[in-house]
């Protein structure tokens, strides 16, 4: 019984798809295993019959002459025939010589013509061979050029890859730059904003307000300020605290509006004067009628610059 693995090897052997080493190894097995050899021979017979499954097509008639013409040109097959016919050799030679003498003359002319034809044919073949050779040479040159081109393109590709990486790094750096610039600008703006802000601590102008405190922060650019008050006594009924900005370019203080104070005596109010303040020379807080006054009418309780 032949196992499936050996059957598969036998099939590959019959189909001629084993490599040389595999073929040799299998042939060694065949020499030692008669059953396997019989299996292979059997399989070869039935497999070869598959050739008959091909659609039947007759070879072209001219092919027969061509095939039979190759026979004399091909090396004569060695083998037992030579030995079998050896006894006839002297007769054959003698007969050949005799016949040869008779036909030599008549054959000479024909031979000459055939030789001429042969030479012409040979010339044609030589020309074809020459042309084929030049084709091969051309192809070889083209292959060399292509190889060189490939090497060049490979080096170009490596260079471009390197450049791409460099550009990517630069792009990343440039992209990071706006962020740092924005940060710097914000910082500068912050510094500038602080520079623009003026801080004025106001002093109590009346003893009753001695324990109170008042601070004004003024932003020239934005033309607005913040006043912060602590421990301020509650204003009398019908009265309000009012803040003023004193600018030399104006004959009278400019109102910043009423400053409402809470029950705890504290206030933090943002204000914006009606007029443009060029030079905030001083800030003042007065007690005015409820709702505020257009000019300073009541007593000034705080002042400072």
């Amino acid at each position: 019984m032949i196992d499936e693995a050996s059957q598969d090897l036998a099939i590959q052997y019959v189909l001629g798809t084993l490599d040389t080493a595999g073929e040799r190894a299998f042939e060694a097995e065949l020499r030692a295993d008669y059953d396997l050899l019989a299996f292979v021979n059997d399989l070869r017979e039935s497999t070869a019959l598959l050739a008959l499954a091909a659609p039947a097509v007759l070879p072209p008639p001219h092919l027969r002459a061509k095939v039979l013409a190759i026979v004399p040109a091909a090396a004569a097959p060695p083998g037992p025939a030579l030995a079998r016919h050896l006894a006839w050799l002297p007769w054959a030679i003698a007969a050949s010589l005799a016949v040869g003498c008779v036909i030599l003359f008549s054959a000479r002319e024909r031979s000459r013509a055939e030789t001429q034809r042969g030479l012409a044919q040979s010339e044609r073949w030589r020309a074809e061979a020459e042309s084929g050779r030049s084709e091969v040479e051309k192809s070889r040159e083209e292959a060399t050029k292509l190889r060189e081109k490939i090497v060049f393109l490979e080096s170009q590709s490596a260079y471009l890859e390197k450049q791409t990486n460099l550009l990517k790094t630069e792009i990343a750096a440039v992209q990071a730059e706006p962020a740092s610039l924005r940060n710097e600008i914000a910082l500068l703006k912050g510094r500038d904003a602080l520079a623009q802000i003026r801080i004025a601590a106001l002093s109590a102008q009346v003893t009753r307000f001695a324990k109170a405190g008042a601070v004004v922060l003024w932003d020239s650019e934005k033309q607005r300020g913040i006043v912060k008050l602590v421990n301020l006594p509650k204003p009398e009924a019908g009265k309000d605290y009012q803040i003023w900005v004193i600018d030399p370019i104006y004959p009278t203080p400019i109102s910043g509006g009423v400053v409402p104070v809470g029950a705890d005596g504290a206030a933090r109010v943002s204000f914006k004067p009606d007029q443009f303040i060029a030079t905030p020379d001083k800030f003042a807080i007065s007690v005015e009628k409820a709702g505020g006054a257009t000019t300073v009418a009541g007593p000034i309780v705080f002042m400072g610059n």
Partner: protein, 191 residues
């Protein structure tokens, strides 16, 4: 050329033996007996009439020069010739680097291949055998048939067939094995 028929098989073997002795007439007669079947085989394999003619010439040249290597104990003369021509055709296919393309074409066209006029293309005995082999092919599954055809006519290895059909190698081996063994058994029973 009748491998299943003993007298015919003997005639082929005798002719080949005479060819081995340098008998040109025997060679011509062997050509007449073998050429139709072998031309059909190589034409199916190389799918090009000119190339098939070249392979046929090359194959018969081989037979003329190497007829002495034929061993009648090993196979019939026809089987020996089929294997010689099949290898020549495969060599040609590989040499021309058209292997893959042609095999693919052959595989897809196999089932729909136009049938030649069998009556004019083959002798009566050969016709019977062609019918028998085609009946044998009907005994195996389509998958087995495809794998066997790719191996025999395409000259592909088991591995190449597995890759081509995107199927495990073990499955391909089993398909070819079962297909060829079924063909063998059927042909034996019918002989």
């Amino acid at each position: 050329m009748t491998p299943l028929n003993h007298p015919e098989r003997q005639i082929d073997a005798d002719l080949l033996s005479r060819v081995a002795s340098g008998d040109e007439a025997a060679f011509a007669r062997l050509y007449d007996r073998f050429a139709p079947g072998l031309f059909s085989l190589v034409l199916k394999m190389v799918r090009d009439e000119k190339e098939a003619e070249d392979v046929l010439q090359d194959g018969f040249s081989h037979i003329w020069r190497r007829a002495t290597t034929y061993d009648p104990a090993r196979s019939s003369a026809f089987t020996w010739a089929v294997m010689v021509f099949r290898h020549k055709a495969i060599d040609r296919l590989r040499m021309r680097l058209r292997f893959e393309r042609i095999v693919e074409k052959a595989a897809t066209e196999f089932s729909d291949a136009p049938q030649a006029d069998e009556a004019s293309a083959a002798a009566p005995i050969l016709r019977e055998q062609c019918t028998l082999v085609r009946s044998a092919l009907e005994q195996i599954t389509d998958e087995q048939k495809l794998a066997v055809e790719l191996a025999f006519f395409g000259g592909l290895t088991h591995e190449e067939i597995a890759a081509k059909l995107d199927t495990p190698l073990g499955t391909i081996k089993a398909r070819i094995r079962r297909g060829l063994l079924r063909l063998r058994d059927f042909l034996k029973e019918s002989a």
